[in-house]
Symmetry: C2
Subunit: 322 residues, 2 copies
């Protein structure tokens, strides 16, 4: 079994993937805080998978996607702010306890790898655009993640598309992340709510002018990210994932409308058929955890990152929720 | 000898490259108009190289970069508007007369290939940003051109970075090409001059407010293109080429200042060291024609595009001007 974990700020999603590339089991649990808490979460997730699904089956590798910076080829994650982790060599912390090699990857990159694998060859090049607290993309070409010269390929969140737009935490104005990132929207919406972006959309539907401005910015930012990924990298498809995609069609239909509106003015843009190149990950997709499993498998085989060692033979996710 | 031609709207640059990858001869001549004129230009260029430099040396292949759309793997160029060519199979037109295989490529892509080869391994990933009548980029990774799913990777000219910016010929507002393309600036400057962008810069230096606005837009657009190429693809370096680079340091220093200014507000942007990642092609560089020679060589060997068949062993361009 290859185990994969998507460790998020609030919860962790874990899958066990069998040799045929099927998901043999899946569990969700709360994420611990700080280096010790996160390490314990990894151990608890594997234990939960054993209890609920895989019993004593051998675990050949464990891969972990984390919301932080992971040095390529290392197992060290830094600046995982949402988890209270400044610097943690996760393999050193848990590999011996698990008796398996541990691979670590940035969570968006792991999700890109997983989303690509689950497409099972339907696209040669793909961008995975994570819409969450922040905005970032992973670019996959011919099954391989494109890291770039310094590992920052896909950081579209900090591209400014409006010199008069809102201030981003990165310091610039009108960044895609300032327009469309969950944290930025929540801050500018300002109302306490368990799901601030959803609250804002509801208020927009009800006619609140501030909310309607924020909604327009959200949609424009996501559409701009899609345009930039297509115009710069000419990817087959942009797959939208991350927390904001729980908004489902309320988000996607707005983005598609925005892409169509910009195409209205331009035969060139129309020819790109942008609206046809955008998809939402299926609700409840295990792409992020599945991609982490691939990362772990690659680590175990000391092969290149990406789909080395496992190919997804079957796009149907055989999911058993824990 | 591998011959390479960069066929521009006004003039054609042609080189002969020997087996060691050195430029054995170079000529420039006026470009003919229409399919017959362009075909004749190719024949005339090879004849001129023979007369001035290579005599009866065997020409193993001819590669031609053209400002139009070239179907990948074909020798057919379409929509070369500046040359009066709607649709031309250039190999069919000249290959038999030349007695050599003919490869054809979009001029920006050919220049990207050539600029990369002339860097002789100094960078693994590179973007070549062509600043000319229009704005487009070629992205090269590990020696291979990144075409994307439909061959439009690098079309950064039609990314909008200012929703209140000038109208682009593509129909959108505030595109990079509307801000920084030579044709757009000339049109908006409106004064008849042999070199409108230079005239505009002179007027800006002399205090003309309209010119200063246009200059600011030019510089902002180029800087935005650099940021987008780095943030999306994380290229080692962005090499600036094309007609506007004749403006030399007047252009580059403005772009570097603009990149530094945006970094001032943002530690994240500072960490990318964008200003260090921008270079101008050397004045008089033969990168475009050299890249075309590589395209022709690859065509002859029926190998993949890019540096197949020739590597640039010597970065010094041994240039004999014709």
């Amino acid at each position: 079994m290859r185990v994969g974990l998507d460790v998020g700020g609030t919860k962790t999603d874990a899958v066990a993937v069998d040799a045929a590339g099927h998901i043999a089991g899946r569990v969700r649990l709360a994420t611990g805080w700080g280096p010790d808490g996160v390490a314990q979460t990894v151990l608890d997730a594997v234990a939960a998978l054993r209890r609920a699904h895989i019993g004593e089956a051998a675990v050949a590798s464990v891969g972990v996607g984390m919301p932080g910076q992971v040095g390529p080829g290392t197992t060290r994650v830094m600046h995982a702010v949402n988890l209270g982790v400044a610097d943690l060599d996760l393999a050193a912390a848990v590999s011996a306890r698990l008796g398996a090699p541990v691979g670590v990857e940035n969570d968006v990159k792991a999700a890109a790898i997983g989303a690509y694998a689950l497409r099972a060859g339907r696209s040669e090049t793909m961008a995975y655009l994570n819409l969450g607290t922040g905005i970032a993309a992973g670019i996959v070409r011919d099954g391989r993640l494109w890291r770039g010269a310094h590992g920052t390929a896909g950081e579209v969140g900090h591209i400014s598309v409006d010199p008069q737009g809102p201030r981003c935490r990165c310091g610039q104005l009108g960044c895609i992340e300032a327009l469309s990132g969950g944290a930025s929207i929540a801050k500018r919406w300002g109302r306490p709510a368990p799901l601030p972006v959803l609250d804002m959309l509801d208020a927009a539907d009800a006619g609140n002018a501030d909310a309607q401005r924020l909604r327009a910015g959200l949609v424009e930012g996501v559409a701009a990210a899609v345009r930039i990924l297509v115009l710069t990298c000419d990817v087959d498809v942009v797959v939208l994932g991350g927390g904001l995609t729980a908004l489902g069609d309320r988000l996607l239909s707005g983005v598609v409308r925005q892409l169509a509106a910009s195409a209205e003015a331009s035969a060139f843009m129309r020819s790109l058929a942008l609206a046809d190149r955008v998809e939402l990950l299926p609700r409840g997709s295990a792409a992020a955890a599945f991609g982490a499993a691939l990362v772990g498998a690659a680590r175990a085989e000391q092969g290149p990152d990406g789909a080395a060692g496992i190919t997804a033979h079957d796009t149907k996710e055989t999911v058993a929720h824990g």
